[in-house]
Amino acid sequence: MFYLKLAWRNILRNKRRTIIASIAIGVGLASLILTDGLMIGMKNNLVESATSTLLGQAQIHNKDFRITRDIEKTIVAKDDITRKLESDPLVTAYSERIVSLGMITSPSTAESVIVYGIDPETEKELSKIDDRIIEGTYFGENKGREIIIGSKLAEVLEVTLGDRIVITVAQAFGGDLSQEMFRVSGIYYFDVKEMDNGFAFIRKDKAGTMLNIGNNIHEIAIKFSDIRIAEKKDLSFWGEYSTGNNEAVSWITIMPELKNILDMTDISLYMMGGILFFVVIFGIINSLFMSLYERMFEFGILKAVGTRPSGLRKLIIFEAGWLAIVSIVIGVIIGFVLHLLLIRNGIDYGGIEFAGTFMHDKIYPVMNISQYMKYPVFVFIFTIVVGLYPAWVAGKMKVTDALRKSM
């Protein structure tokens, strides 16, 4: 208890140095907290961008469809599944889709595309096609004959709004070709080459008829109440919906490359954290050693009058502990204020591509309690560990060296 008191008073002895050291350590801590928050925000933004474009956070297919894209492999017991999804508390939206390879032909050229048959109303909740329409409308009154295509595809086909184009697909159960004429009712722009060039969206009913699969579907895209739900591997959802020959998979399975990139960002966070800790550690060592060498004579007196080496070591460790506590308070305050400001205003990375995904929205750092527990505890433990070295030096110091000016 006495050494705690003495250590605290020693810390306050040179207030300016303590404040400068604490601010330096505190800024390091605040940087760690903010970096963590920003990384989570950026990851969420990437996942959100990737999944809300078209993918969805999870998908249900016939097990064979995802690999073979065989249009005959439709979802088994679709109605049971959709009924279950309706009442699933984890699910906020879902959309049924028909997916097929097809040929799109304009008067000037033909291109192969992936034709999506969608329900315009439910799809609004899942993907951002409706938000990205730059010309025309997102499915209007002309029921059955509308088609939405990307701006690049329109350019290649040399078509504009209202122009007629023909979709050709191979039908299920026989492979007969089926052709339908559509009018371009909307053109979207995502600034993602694959999206803008390789997809065409028509109504689901029309697609079902063209493919000869009736009311059957190939894909159900799902949006959860929280974006992080899809990352949980042990979620019972996957098992519950992987029945019959169906499989429910998260975006991690569908886009493993994005998951790998996100894991890499975790590693870079650890590396950045390591560098920041390194800086913080040198700040602490410097402060403690300055304080130690400044008080050599005093330590000499303490040792001369009978303080055991362990007593001096304890004193230095307690001083390190107090320095850590003051720094943590400063760091948490700085971190919290900046965190709130960034959460309110966001950081605009609009249009930057990362891991093949365009970040269209601002990045908002995420704040959670663990950031304000984990990093301060790290800083405290590291400070104590770093304090062991000057403490060892103080304990080992020869009294006569320390008192050289005197006896």
């Binding site: 020693n10 005093e298 009978g306 303080t307 055991r308 009294v399 008192l403």
Partner: protein, 230 residues
Amino acid sequence: MEQKTIISTENLVKTYKDNGMEAKAVRGISLEITSGEFTAVVGPSGSGKTTFLNLISGLDTPTSGTVQINNRLISEMKGRELSDFRRDNIGFVFQSYNLIPVLTVEENIEYIMLLQNVPKRERHDRVIKILDKVGLNGMESRRPTQLSGGQQQRVAIARAMVSNPTLILADEPTANLDSKMGSELLEMMKVLNETTGMTFIFSTHDQMIMERARRLITLKDGIVKTDEIR
């Protein structure tokens, strides 16, 4: 009062190595100091008096020879044992910056008793008593910076004496004081020496101390040149 030998040195030698060169600071000092002495160790700079005091207080270890305090061979002690021995047997008064500036007068004085695990109440009582003896009543809650140089040295003496050690080692205790303050301090130590029977050993250049010391040991080139008992 019966006088017994409390310090006994035998052929004490201390050699320092500096840049490969050996320098003998103490070249074989053998002497005895008895309880209740008021002794001054004097000599020119480099005569070995500081080294000698460091050796007899256990702050340094001899190259050869022995030091016994109260029949205990402190030249063989190390680490914790030596720290505890110094704590319980030797009081130190240094030239200046004696006190821990962040502690109050009371906390400075009670520090050694804290190391000895003396109960709080007893610590306080002993601090009050010793402050009375050194003429600093009512100053227990002051910080060292609020005291004059002379008062600070009195506190240092109080701290050195409060745990009733066998001997007090004082290194130039009056060096940073004016002659009036120095004289008062010296007079006070003399009185304490006479009333408590505690042994005082000074390392000094101060003529006043030399005049008042009852034994004057003069060192030159690491050996005892004269040893005069008055």
